[in-house]
Symmetry: C2
Subunit: 237 residues, 2 copies
DNA sequence: CATAGTCGTCCAGTATACTGGACTTGTGTC
DNA sequence: GACACAAGTCCAGTATACTGGACGACTATG
């Protein structure tokens, strides 16, 4: 079931049941059965032509429940919208999901250029500035048990040094902003600021994706705006 | 699993695992196991104190997927917001979910007064104006097989005549607006307008909840606004 | 501090759901 | 229209997950 959902999420559009079976390399009968059960429950829905399925109404309703309980997410969405509108850059709201950084919300600027920055896409933590913030409270041991060896391999094939990464995580503790350059690709940099919950723990990050060659004044302006937003949204202890 | 999700949805806040087991009258060990599996997958999350669980990030992400695929829902939300802002009344976006009417989105006016009009709450179809629209394309036989006998029992205990209900569904076919009064309670009326998909089928309804004693001019105004919004949002064939 | 009640874990037995093969139905091609 | 291939259904055997009871840990109460 988890794999099925993940596959639909990656495709972000209805998928034929037969294709699901192939893609998940599971018996067709199992997938037909599973899809039938989940669609009876309303978590999946048949839609359009050709026996295609996608997430159902209930999934949306349950997701809305999560949103209503999560004030950082709710306020963070508004803030991402506002920042994107004012600066014309791409902003994202990110959070830790298992051993990945998940993008919970995004608003594209006029020049979207980062791979897969759709809602629901997930990245290995060493790939992003947000990843360093999200792990900043953990010790080396905890990081080692969470981050898999293959997560250190960047899209271009080069490898992030795990010792260096853990140092950067430690340095991110208490930082107002973290910047990484040229990790996911060579032409962007990523500025991330921490959103802290009432416990003081970082619950999410506010992140901006900029071209690598943006001029210094503009970058400072974005950086200041991120810090201001993040500190305003963070809960006071 | 379906029951567990439904229970969390009804409570709309984190629930202790032990309470879940009681409420679902299932063995504690089963619920602990199930919750553990679902939270490992990210569909549920432990949150706050005292071993409480609620919907997880993945549920939100998957729900956002549904939203992105469903243009009527996306545009309908904006329209509900706009109508509520302009008229100061409560509007809802409703849809058919199995044999229930589900509220997918709502914006409260200054006098919210309808029971349970939260996102995700569901009603038997005979209780609402939207229900008549959502069933308007079905014949009597299809309606009988979908609507359970107990669905005809209103909250106050009185019973909707099933023949009359089916006539009202038939009359709703092609109607621009459907009004019901005093069904869910004695002091509200419900105005619903159909949102049609590209197939011409009613995919959702836009609905306004008014006090029963609202003056005629205001009601006409609301009614006209609903018709206008609904026809604008409906897909042309 | 003793006690009752609840909470969470563990485990073997059992029931449910998954598997994969055979079969039927649908679809596209020549 | 005949053919090949893919899509979808069905069924018995098996593996997985659920069950419920026993147990220890924790918490409130007198």
């Amino acid at each position: 079931m988890a794999k099925l959902f993940a596959y639909l999420n990656n495709h972000n559009q209805p998928v034929r049941v037969a294709d699901l079976a192939k893609a998940l390399s599971a018996p067709r009968s199992s997938i037909y059965e599973l899809v039938s059960v989940l669609s009876k429950e309303g978590l999946l829905e048949f839609c359009g032509e050709g026996n295609k399925v996608f997430f159902g109404k209930l999934m949306y309703v349950y997701g809305a429940n999560f949103l209503s309980q999560n004030s950082i997410l709710r306020e963070g969405q508004l803030e991402v919208d506002r920042l994107a509108l004012e600066t014309h850059e791409t902003f994202e709201l990110c959070t830790l999901n298992q051993n990945r950084q998940a993008i919970l919300y995004t608003r594209l600027g006029p020049r979207p250029m980062r791979i897969g920055s759709e809602i629901g896409s997930q990245f290995p933590l060493p790939w992003t500035a947000s990843g360093r913030l999200l792990l900043s409270h953990m010790d080396e041991e905890a990081i080692d048990s969470l981050v898999l060896p293959e997560d250190y391999i960047l899209p271009n094939g080069s490898v992030v040094d795990s010792g260096k990464f853990k140092n950067e995580c430690r340095d991110a503790l208490g930082a107002e902003i973290v910047v990484t350059q040229g990790l996911i690709n060579t032409f962007t940099q990523c500025l991330a600021a921490p959103l802290k919950g009432s416990s003081g723990l970082i619950e999410a990050t506010l992140c901006c994706v900029l071209p690598i060659d943006v001029d210094g004044d503009h970058k400072s302006f974005i950086s200041a705006a991120l810090k201001e937003s993040a500190s305003r949204l963070s809960r006071r202890t």
